[in-house]
């Protein structure tokens, strides 16, 4: 053992003791310890291995839109619990707990603003809010986003991160799939571009509605995207899933998405595409 290896463990343990909570975090993939402030500046992409970590809806929108002139849309909508749903916990309680931990009212945030000076409407899912699940409010907010797009002739960009429909709202949630799909159709009828950005994870009812109805489909690297969850598929077919199944790279190969784009290049890439689509 060299002198360096001898003293290394003691050094790391000393460092660990002195870290205040929340200042450092670990990359889930390469396990490198990372400085939170630096991570935030890199939009939560690991500087060591380029792993794209999950990111909050607000950080997402803030990193995507120009700093000036952002206005939030339909920010006060809240769920009504039409089924009085209860499992081990009441939906109401789960809902307020989600509001508390995320500091958000719901799982979808919508803002209008600009990217490189171009007027756009952006919607982003907050995955930490009940798994980014789509209930009545998410559906309604998405529809309001499309309506704002049509009204102001501004392209719509949606960042999906969702486990699917919110079962606590039963069939009301399922119907949001039809509702939001109609909204995308109306957007298309008005010739407003819709860019769907699929981030980790985009599954179930969200993937099987508006997220897969974009004029352009962009995925972040290594995002899980699909209809049925990998565990369900594995149980159904009774065999091991192929390497990289339902990941962005797999979807690109199968023809489901247009491209995979690094998080730091998203704004410029989307701006370029929209500039071309809106040139006439």
């Amino acid at each position: 053992m060299s002198w360096l290896e001898k003293i290394l463990p003691s050094i790391t343990s000393v460092v660990k003791k002195n870290i205040p909570e929340g200042l450092w975090s670990k990359c889930p993939k390469c396990e490198t310890t990372l400085y939170e402030e630096e991570l935030k500046q890199r939009f939560y992409v690991c500087p060591q291995c380029d792993y794209h970590m999950r990111i909050s809806a607000r950080d997402r929108i803030n990193s995507f839109l120009d700093p000036k002139g952002r206005v939030e849309i339909a920010k006060d909508l809240e769920a009504a619990d039409p089924l009085k749903f209860k499992d081990q916990k009441r939906y109401k309680d789960r809902y307020s707990a989600a509001q508390k931990t995320t500091n958000e009212k719901e799982a979808l945030i919508v803002k209008k603003g600009t990217i490189n000076g171009m007027k756009v409407v952006v919607a982003a899912f907050e995955f930490r809010f009940m798994g980014g699940s789509m209930g009545s409010v998410v559906g309604e907010k998405f529809v309001r986003a499309t309506q704002e797009s049509i009204k102001t002739k501004a392209p719509l960009i949606c960042f999906s991160a969702s486990g699917g429909a919110r079962m606590q709202e039963g069939l009301f949630s399922l119907m949001q799939m039809a509702k939001t799909s109609l909204a995308v159709k109306l957007l298309a009828d008005n010739k407003i571009p819709f860019v769907s950005i699929l981030t980790d994870p985009t599954m179930g009812g969200v993937s099987a509605s508006f997220a897969m109805l974009g004029d352009i489909h962009i995925a972040e690297p290594n995002a899980l995207i699909g209809f049925a969850g990998p565990r369900v598929v594995e149980q159904t077919v009774g065999e091991e899933l192929p390497e990289g199944f339902q990941r962005s790279e797999f979807l690109l190969e199968k023809g489901a998405i247009d491209m995979i784009v690094h998080r730091s290049e998203l704004t410029n890439k989307v701006h370029k595409i929209l500039s071309a689509l809106c040139s006439n």
Binding site: D76, L77, E78, A79, A80, P82, L83, F85, K86, D87, Q88, G135, S136, V137, G139, E140, A165, R166, M167, E169, G170, L171, F172, S173, L174, M175, Q176, M177, A178, K179, S181, L182, A183, V184, K185, D189, G204, G205, S207, A208, S209, F210, A211, M212, L213, I225, G226, F227, A228, G229, V232, V233, T236, V237, L241, F245, Q246, K254, G255, A256
Partner: protein, 316 residues
């Protein structure tokens, strides 16, 4: 235990077994009276059991081994069904059948999910779980219907879209999404009936309708009771509890304004009187088709749009 009956139907099964045994006796005169007594006893018992069904029991009825499947109805409800096959791109998915049919002398486009009854059939129809090519075939037929102004009638009966490797590779999500997108403004009337199980997105993908009908003991849900229980209780065995929470029965959904009408089933459910069930379905469809075809298509599309945009309950 009679495997053709559910556990809560067993007392009825016992009586029916006795009636069956009596009817096998040749000397009809002597047993006529006893047969009558047994039959009325069976009716009373069935009425009693069926007057207080739980949502879980209704879920079981919706998937009853003897419940009629789509193809059991087609020959009796429609005349001259001409089946059309394939999505023109990959394959013909047997889990969705479709074609041109006549209802009461009027041509319609019929599309339905087929589960199958015997094991051999179930394998052929993949237990009614469509793959992307099934949804794309359905869409092809709907666009054909739109082109020639044929009303579309769909029968829903599926545990859900098939969660397989190939299905994911060929874009299960996109196929479902595309159907929702196109159906939302399809310029021809659409009537859908849940005849058994309406399993989530896999059901909705042929169920964006102007008139949404359910058979009394069918179910329609965002997730199966088993799926819900395994997520929320980490135990699929708690499906009975989840079924109560999900409000997936026709009466709940009618009350919540999510469906338009309910077809009352024969005493004891469809499987106890299939012929009556077929007649009830045919009569309902005739009436609804008349209603919907009397409305100008522009008005239908406007109504459909308002209905879809109105789905959801929230607070400001």
């Amino acid at each position: 235990m009679n495997l053709d009956y559910l556990d809560f139907e067993q007392p009825i099964a016992d009586l029916e077994g006795k009636i069956q045994a009596l009817s096998n006796i040749n000397d009809k005169v002597d047993i006529a009276k006893e047969m009558e007594t047994l039959k009325s006893k069976s009716d009373v018992l069935t009425k009693k059991i069926f007057s207080s069904l739980t949502d879980w029991q209704i879920s079981q009825l919706a998937r009853h081994p003897r419940r009629l499947c789509t193809l059991d109805y087609v020959g009796d409800v429609f005349d001259d069904f001409i089946e059309l096959h394939g999505d023109r791109a990959f394959a013909d998915d047997h889990a969705i059948v479709g074609g041109i049919a006549n209802l009461d002398g009027k041509p319609v486009m019929f599309i339905g999910q087929q589960k199958g009854t015997s094991t051999r059939e179930k394998l052929k129809y993949n237990f009614g779980m469509p793959r992307p090519e099934g949804y794309r075939k359905a869409l092809r037929l709907m666009k054909l219907a739109e082109k020639f102004s044929l009303p579309v009638i769909t029968f829903i009966d599926t545990p859900g879209a098939y969660p397989g490797i190939g299905a994911e590779e060929r874009g299960q999500s996109e196929a479902i999404a595309r159907n929702l997108y196109e159906m939302s403004t399809l310029a021809t009337p659409i009537i859908s009936v849940v005849i058994g199980e309406g399993g989530s997105g896999g059901a909705l993908a042929i169920g964006v309708a102007d008139i949404m009908i359910m058979f009394e003991y069918s179910i329609y849900s965002v997730i199966s009771p088993e799926g819900c229980a395994s997520i929320l209780y980490k135990d699929a065995g708690k499906a009975n509890i989840a079924a109560e929470s999900l409000k997936l029965t026709s009466s709940h959904l009618k009350r919540l304004g999510l469906i338009d009408s309910v077809i009352k089933e024969p005493l004891g459910g469809i499987h106890r009187d299939p012929e009556k069930a077929k007649k009830l379905l045919k009569n309902t469809l005739k009436l609804k088709l008349k209603d919907v075809t009397s409305i100008p298509i522009k008005k239908i599309l406007k109504n459909r749009q308002e209905k879809l945009l109105g789905f959801g309950k929230y607070k400001i």
